[in-house]
């Protein structure tokens, strides 16, 4: 038992071990982001579709499903952030004296910006959860509607109200630009860290990573922009 624990600790303490965990939790979050976006796009199908989807999420597995997902995601986010902060601190310490003349040959801008795009996303996640999940400072929680004879939470009305306020819409768009930058390095990078890339497949992973980042950006930004700029739902 303690021998297994010792090996696990050594794995976490190693540079590649931590990176493997960052890649695995990153993969979970990458998939979550896609599912989350597809669900949210139901707002363009109409109030009934998105309210039914919201009700389904709240009630699946007798209300347990949403908590299983929340705990899983929370664990992934915490591991992802704690490990990357530890890695970044170690990276800074590994070069105490900086170069007088710095040159960058191939590293992409988004790859050099990961910790900052990531920390902005962390701030966004906190705001997003307070905004639409905890309903802090708003009364979205009291919006109810009739769904096939049941009283359910009016997700549609909440989203329209939420994005009609310009600062919120703008912050969401900025956060999605950060997410796009983060994904454009992170998605292909996880295949390298998990040891899955080959010379033949690497260009494909790189393309898929960029396309995925662009898809998430366009899909997610379409909602606040449609509501705030084009008055969708008003």
């Amino acid at each position: 038992m303690s021998a297994v624990f010792e090996s696990l600790t050594r794995f976490y303490q190693s540079s590649i071990g931590k990176k493997t965990l960052v890649a695995l939790t990153g993969a979970m979050l990458v998939l979550f982001v896609l599912g989350h976006m597809i669900g949210n796009l139901l707002i363009f199908v109409g109030p009934h579709a998105i309210n039914e989807y919201g009700h389904f999420l709240q009630t699946v597995g007798h209300g347990m499903g949403v908590w299983v997902a929340r705990i899983g995601l929370l664990a992934a986010v915490v591991i992802h952030i704690v490990a990357t902060i530890q890695l970044t601190k170690a990276n800074r310490a590994a070069r105490e004296q900086r170069y007088g003349c710095e040159a960058t040959q191939v590293a992409s801008r988004s790859s050099r910006f990961m910790i900052w795009s990531g920390l902005t996303l962390l701030a966004f996640i906190v705001y997003h959860l307070l905004h639409f999940t905890a309903h802090a400072g708003n009364n979205y929680g009291s919006y109810m509607t009739d769904l096939d004879g049941h009283q359910v939470h009016d997700v549609y009305k909440m989203v329209i109200a939420g994005f009609s306020w310009a600062p919120a819409a703008i912050f969401y768009v900025i956060a999605m630009l950060m997410l796009c930058s983060h994904l454009s390095h992170g998605v292909s990078s996880l295949f390298q860290t998990l040891g899955l890339a080959t010379n033949k497949t690497w260009p494909i992973f790189k393309f898929v990573g960029h396309a995925y980042a662009a898809l998430i950006l366009v899909g997610n930004c379409s909602i606040p922009i449609a509501i705030w700029v084009f008055g969708y739902g008003h």
């Binding site: 540079s15 590649i16 004296q97 007088g100 003349c101 860290t193």
Partner: protein
Amino acid sequence: MALLNLHLKVWRQNGSQPGHFQDIEAPEIPDHASFLEMMDIVNERLIANGQDPIAFDHDCREGICGACSMTINGMPHGPERATTTCQLHMRKFRTGDTIWIEPFRARSFPVVKDLMVDRGAFDRIMQAGGFVSIRTGSAPEGNSIPIGKDVADAAMDAAACIGCGACVASCKNASAMLFVSAKVGQLNTLPQGQPERQRRTLGMVRQMDAEGFGNCTNQYECEAACPKEISVRWITKLNRDYAVAAVKDIVGAGRQQAGGEGGD
């Protein structure tokens, strides 16, 4: 032959004391000189003027030993692709250029003097697993172990690493992953390297971490700087080999085969 007039900004440092850039004028440098020959000319002039010459490492001067560590205009071994400092020629520069010359910078490569750094960390990583166990005595029959040509070629590509440390110097995180992956990969690819495979992978990565190198963030500056064009696919393989070795270590697979003994 053209002559170049250059402005140098050279890092001067004594051991662990704080260093600084010294402006040195280098007029009338022949453009057919190598970079190290330019440094020799500059040093001769410094000595003639009673000044302290610039300390730098060099040995073979033909691109095979990896000694000539210098970061030139922010790039280890200078701007030429797949070229060591000793093989870099002054015709790649223009008269009037300002050239920044710095040591390979990493906490794990402490400066000895000026541009010379102590790369002993690489030797300690090699000692942690960069070897194969062989039977000594009479020379074995050459082709007694059949090795596919693709396998031999791949191992040879990794073996081209000269241990210069440019990968560390160019990495934004001063990570040694390209070096370690080339050394682990070379031996893990060959049949002769299989007996120690797991122990080697874990041991060399642990030593790399213990030496205080940074962590790879998949930016591939190392590959761009490497004078021997070692591919970052070796890092992919090291990541994979390490994950497999770590899982075997966690579940104790290696030990069971040894009847509950062995291991480290």
